[in-house]
Every structure is written in C-alpha cells, then in structure tokens.
C-alpha cells in the first residue's frame, strides 16, 4: 500500500510521490509532505522465528525447546529470539523488563505516570472556586506533597516547583483559616462580655 494521507487515509498518488516528497490527496485535497526512511524499505515484516534447540545447545529459560540467542544482562537467564528485549546495546529478559530490575528500571520504560505534584498544586487552587472547600483541600494538598515528595515525577519534567508551590499555597490557606477562626471566636467572646 502506498503512503496514506495523514488526514483521511486515502492512498496518496504514486506519481506525485515519485516526483518529490509532497503529494495532494485526491480525496480530501490536503497537501501532504512525506518523509520516508530506510526502515520502511529494508524491513521485511516476517514474524520472529525461534529455532529449536538441539541436544547440548543452550535453551531459553521460558521456552526449553527453543535455542537461546543471548543472556539477560540483568539476571543472566538465557533467552530465545522471541523473549529477547533489546535496549541500546543490552538484551533483557521479559521478567526483568516487567519487574523493572536494575538498569531496566533506570531505562524509564514506564508507559504512564501519575503526576502527584500537579494534583497537589491543583487541589488548593481549584477549591478556591468554592472557598469553604479549601478547609479540606489545603491540608489534603499539604499531606499529599509531603507523602509523595520523593516519588518519581514526570519523565520529562525534573524539578519539584509544583510541590513547593502547593505547600506554600496550602500553608497560606491554612493560615488564613486559622486567623479567620481565631478572629471569629475572639469577636464572639468580646461580644458576650
């Protein structure tokens, strides 16, 4: 199949692609810029085939009938072609990747992360919409910031300013509530005297 249009998936006309890196889609009329790389042409999409282990040959830890092609850089288990997970110059077994062991952990293979710093910051700010809720949200944000301070942040953002801001805003709100409550109580006492 030729390269499809990025908007409507209609195959782009081959004669236009042959002339250059751009093509107009015949269906939606959008102008497509196409960049093709050798991975497309060199790769034949055949499934990974593991070879059967002969007598005396090293076998895969998880598939004893398959020939081992490498040893895991973390645990040393033999892995077959199917089980080998390549990363950079190293090969890991699926168990080490799943468990995030050793370098597999530092490789940051997470598919998602919860942003506790953003949660802690948004809690006291969002509760300002209905300010009585800051009475609950500010301490909650403070506790969250302290408890999750050392948890890993976003893969791409490395600083903890959101936690710092959350703590400052929460403390301000708690102080304001304290002052307000003290003022109300003292005012009532003055009124009763």
């Amino acid at each position: 199949m030729p390269v499809p249009c990025a908007r409507c998936d209609t195959p782009l006309p081959k004669w236009e692609l042959a002339a250059g890196d751009a093509a107009i889609c015949t269906s939606c009329g959008s102008s497509n810029q196409v960049r093709v790389f050798p991975a497309l042409l060199s790769q034949s999409h055949v499934p990974v085939r593991t070879e059967a282990a002969l007598d005396g040959e090293a076998a895969c830890y998880d598939h004893p009938s398959k020939r081992a092609v490498a040893a895991c850089h973390q645990c040393g288990r033999f892995v077959c072609q199917l089980c080998s997970v390549e990363s950079g110059n190293e090969v890991w077994c699926p168990s080490c990747v799943a468990a995030g062991a050793g370098k597999a952990r530092s490789a940051n293979l997470d598919a998602s992360r919860t942003l506790y710093d953003s949660t802690a910051l948004i809690l006291p700010l969002l509760s300002l919409l209905l300010y009585p809720f800051t009475l609950i949200a500010a301490p909650a944000s403070l506790v969250l910031s302290v408890m999750k301070w050392s948890r890993p942040l976003s893969l791409v953002r490395r600083n903890r300013w959101r936690f710092v801001a959350a703590v400052l805003i929460s403390l301000t709100e708690i102080c304001l509530w304290t002052v307000g409550i003290v003022y109300l109580i003292s005012g009532r006492f003055r009124g009763s005297r």
Partner: protein, 319 residues
C-alpha cells in the same frame, strides 16, 4: 539508554489534555498530559518508517488563547467606562485577534502522523505548519543519522511494502483499544442530572419567597451536585463513563462556583459586615439577587437538558 530528554517544537495546550514531543539519544517520546497523569509512547529512531504531514484546518482553542481572551475581557471591563475610544480600540483588537485565529486555524494548520512497522500514531502537538517544519528539520537528520538515507526511487519500491502496521484500524492512536465502551450514564450521573432539574425547580418555585428551609435544601442539592460530579470524574477516569458527562460536570461546577461567589458578594453588599449566613427573605427582596436566581435556574435547566440528552443518546458499539 539515555533518559535525558530535549523538547521538540510543538506543544498542544488544551484545558484538560496536552501533548508534547521529546527526543532522547535513540528515540522520540510522545507525551500526552491529562493534568494529573502523563501517558508516554516511544518511537525508536531506528524503527520510524515514515512521517507524513497533511495540511488542513485545526480549530483548537489553547489555554494560551483563553488567557489572551480573559486578559482582553479584563481590560475591556476596566477601560470601557474610563475612555470613550477604549471600546472601539478593544473591539477592533478583538476582531483582529479572532480573524488571526481563524486564519491560523484554517490556513496554517496541519496533522502529523508517524509510522513504524507496528504502529501509526498522530502527533497531536504538531498542529501548525511552521511547527511541523521545525519538527521535521530537527528530527529528519537524527533519523537519517541512525538509518541512513533512502537510495533509489522509494515511491516505486513502496508497491511491494506496507507503510505502518498491516492490519491496524484506521485511527489507531496512543489509546489502547477499550474492550468495553464507556457508558452514556450511570446511577451517579442520573442523580446528578435529576439534582440539576430539582435545583432549577427550587429556584423557580421559591423565587419570591425564599425561606431558611428552602435555603438548606438548596445547599443540600449543591452538595449532591458536587458529590455526583466527583463520582463522575472517577467513573470517567476508570473508563466507565463517557467524556461528555464529565464535561457537563465541569461546566456545572464552574456555574455553581460562580453563582456561589456572586451570591456572597450580593449578600455582602446588602447585609454589610455579616454576609456569612444572610437572611434569605431580605436577600430575596433584592432585584439583582432575583436576577441571579433566574439566571441560575436557567443555567440549571440548560445543563439538565444537556444531561438528559446525553443520557438518552444511543450507545454506540465499537466497530
């Protein structure tokens, strides 16, 4: 594997979702932000088969555009009574800004898609043509450095090859396929919509005779609405409820908060220094308060009708 990332051109700033692209030594990282969570997808430079950028309209309202609009509104409200020419100047500025946004959205926007042997993904952060140009200028040399250059007529060679995965659905993106489609409504959303109608009815029925009891019922309904909204957020997060209901909950909370603050301000103005628990009958006599309650009732009816329409919407099964 290096884990130091450098940001690539393009940043989609949405109200609830955002997207950015980052590059490491051997892969691109597509980051989809959902405010409290980030989802990552990696594209190894050695695996990228093609990048296609298609021009077309993208009418996206970013948070940056919203901030500009809010600033404009603040300046307009502050300046309209002070200088006679201010309204005209600000009106002209608003028209220019709107026309610029229309032009950029319709004539200078694009979609970008990246292909590997097993995936085809849209890159949401690349949605303006100049960003796409900068992105390609940065990424293309890096991929060529890893893979080399295509020799010969690649367009002819493509006849025997498949771009992207062979049997993947058309709009496969970063979301994994959901085995069970999200529901249009749940018990929480039903109670939430019912409380909106009840709120509207209470406002209309007690428009001229607000009592302390009616006020407490109103507070109770507000608590039900907030609790329902929180439950709906959680249900949407867990994939049980559709996004439309979650958006309705957000709109309701914003309306609820705005009415609450306006009511406090009006009570403060009317009652002097004791606005914490104002006398409801005295408040009900204020014409501005009457108007606020009419508007509140109207908003509740509209939101309730939207909610009812969402509940009655037929459920679409995945193809």
């Amino acid at each position: 594997m290096s884990d130091s990332y450098r940001q690539l051109p393009g940043h989609r700033r949405g109200f609830l979702q955002g997207a950015t692209l980052w590059i490491a030594s051997d892969h691109l990282l597509s980051v989809r932000s959902l405010r409290f969570r980030e989802e990552y997808k990696r594209f190894y430079l050695r695996d990228i088969q093609a990048i296609v950028v298609a021009g077309g309209s993208r009418f996206h309202i970013s948070t940056r555009a919203a901030v500009i609009a809010a600033l404009w509104l603040a300046v307009f409200l502050a300046a309209r009574t002070r200088a006679p020419w201010a309204s005209l100047a600000l009106g002209t500025a608003a028209v220019c800004l709107f026309v610029s946004w229309l032009y950029l959205s319709s004539a200078r926007s694009c979609s970008c898609r990246i292909y590997t042997a097993v995936s085809r993904d849209n890159l949401p952060s690349i949605y303006r043509t100049w960003t796409a140009r900068k992105f390609l200028a940065e990424v293309e040399p890096r991929i060529r450095q890893v893979q080399g250059i295509v020799e010969g007529n690649w367009a002819k060679a493509l006849e025997e090859r498949t771009v992207g995965p062979a049997a993947l659905p058309v709009n496969a993106s970063m979301h994994p396929p959901v085995p069970h489609p999200a529901r249009t409504h749940t018990l929480a959303s039903d109670i939430f919509v019912a409380s909106l109608f009840a709120d509207a009815a209470l406002n209309i029925l007690t428009l001229h005779s607000m009592t302390r009891t009616a006020q407490w019922i109103w507070y109770g309904l507000a608590v039900v609405e907030i609790a329902g909204a929180v439950v709906m957020f959680l249900q949407h997060y867990r994939g049980i409820l559709r996004a439309a209901m979650q958006k309705l909950a957000i709109a309701t909370l914003i309306a609820l908060g705005s009415v609450y603050y306006l009511r406090q301000i009006m009570a403060g103005v009317a009652m002097g220094n004791r606005p914490f628990m104002p006398d409801p009958s005295a408040l009900a006599a204020l014409p501005s308060y009457l108007l606020l309650r009419q508007v509140d009732a109207g908003i509740c009816v509209v939101l309730g009708l939207v909610g009812a329409a969402l509940i009655l919407m037929p459920r679409q099964d995945p193809v």
